[in-house]
Symmetry: C2
Subunit: 230 residues, 2 copies
DNA sequence: TAGATTGTTAATCGATTAACAATC
DNA sequence: TAGATTGTTAATCGATTAACAATC
């Protein structure tokens, strides 16, 4: 879930080129922005200096107009007749996404999945730093996994405060997720990446992004079953 | 990717109530269907026998009209004045999604994440059965992990054929993903759940659902950075 | 019967695409 | 200058919501 709720956020105003946020942007725009960023990083690594809305769109399956429109929500970053400078657009999008800064992250639930996520290095260079893990199991509380200390969930308020953590990855069993999530919110967490297969009911100001692997797989079985076009 | 491409599939025709598919349905509809299913299973487990579009919508944050419209793509499953029988609607949606049958699945790339996915039981009761894992590392090829045999990637054609596998979970490093994906397609795979942080370029008839954890986290940092409404 | 809720049509809203003047 | 490509406005398309007759 997360995929559907048309969440909106503030974006550019008319007067300020490369300016601050004051308009609503759909969630679809934000995830395309992430894809542009991923593609731009690849181009940069390949030593390619400039690209265009047409090329970016082609690589990702969007129209050139879509690419330009998405970026236009936040300002003017291109050069007519030239395109976009990859390194420049990369850092601009990083700023927009908030990944030009580092985010300390808590991982809650050190089971199979949680453990794998602790070992996952994909976050780190994206600006996310898992700085603490929480679990109830006394066998692992007090240990370190991949260099990350595992604390008792009892201590979540203290540690979250101490380490100024705003984001959490929730990887506990579905039946515990709602209760644990509320506890995280009480501790000061404002955004949750939820791997549990339940819809969390939390205050509106808390951002929840859901990742349900069974649901993603269902997309595949649906496509296999129906003849899917495109 | 995945999230955005407005993928369309065939759905109900006018004449056949509860009938076969012949109309286009957006990807957004399909993922909401998954959420309805998840919620209905919960209600069933709680012993609740009927529900309504209003109740379902409230639980998930959609309008009642949305729920009815989504279902209307596939037929008529409700009872005016009464609502929907949970068990009935559950099995209907399972049929629509293709999860009333079992899907043998291959897992490719037995690293940290792959290993966790092998141990993950969430798929199984959703109709997905990981029946084979593939890797290059000779230290694990030939072993079993959580009861699932690990084969050399060299043997993918033979095993995929033997076990009639159509779906694969791709959990290899980003720089290997494109090549391995092509190999899977050559072996007969038709749907891929891609955990690698790259956009795969594959023939149109192959369905790819992308899960990029860094991108999901970026949704959170974006929400933290911009004041997000709703 | 009165109340509840469906399925569906029509109205609204938002997102994507097309087109083009401005710019390099 | 000619060619390429932007940013943006207007046109199109699709998805969501509102409304309501039909049904239980």
């Amino acid at each position: 879930m997360g995929d559907n709720a048309t969440t909106h956020v503030m974006a550019k105003s008319k007067e300020n080129k490369k300016g601050a946020s004051d308009q609503r942007v759909s969630k679809a725009v934000v995830s395309r922005l992430s894809l542009y960023l991923r593609e731009l990083s690849r181009l940069e690594r390949a030593g390619i200096e400039t690209t265009s809305s047409t090329k970016l769109g082609e690589m990702l399956g969007f129209s050139d107009a879509q690419v330009r429109k998405d970026l236009a929500n936040f300002g003017q970053f291109g050069y007519p007749g030239v395109g976009y400078r990859c390194s420049e657009l990369t850092s601009t999008i990083r700023q927009i996404m908030g990944t030009d800064q580092r985010w300390p992250v808590a991982l809650v639930g050190v089971g199979n999945l949680g453990r794998a996520l602790l070992g996952y290095r994909g976050f780190a260079n994206q600006g996310f730093n898992t700085v603490a893990a929480f679990d109830l199991d006394p066998k692992i509380v007090g240990t370190e996994i991949d260099g990350i200390p595992v604390f008792s969930l009892e201590r979540v308020d203290k540690i979250v405060e101490e380490k100024s953590i705003q984001l959490a990855i929730l990887a506990v069993p579905a039946n515990a997720a709602q209760e644990v999530a509320q506890r995280l919110v009480a501790a000061g967490i404002r955004g949750i990446l939820n791997f549990a297969a339940v819809t969390l009911r939390l205050p509106d100001e808390i951002t929840v992004v859901g990742v349900d692997l069974a649901i993603e797989m269902e997309q595949l079985s649906f496509a296999m079953t129906s003849r899917m076009s495109q």
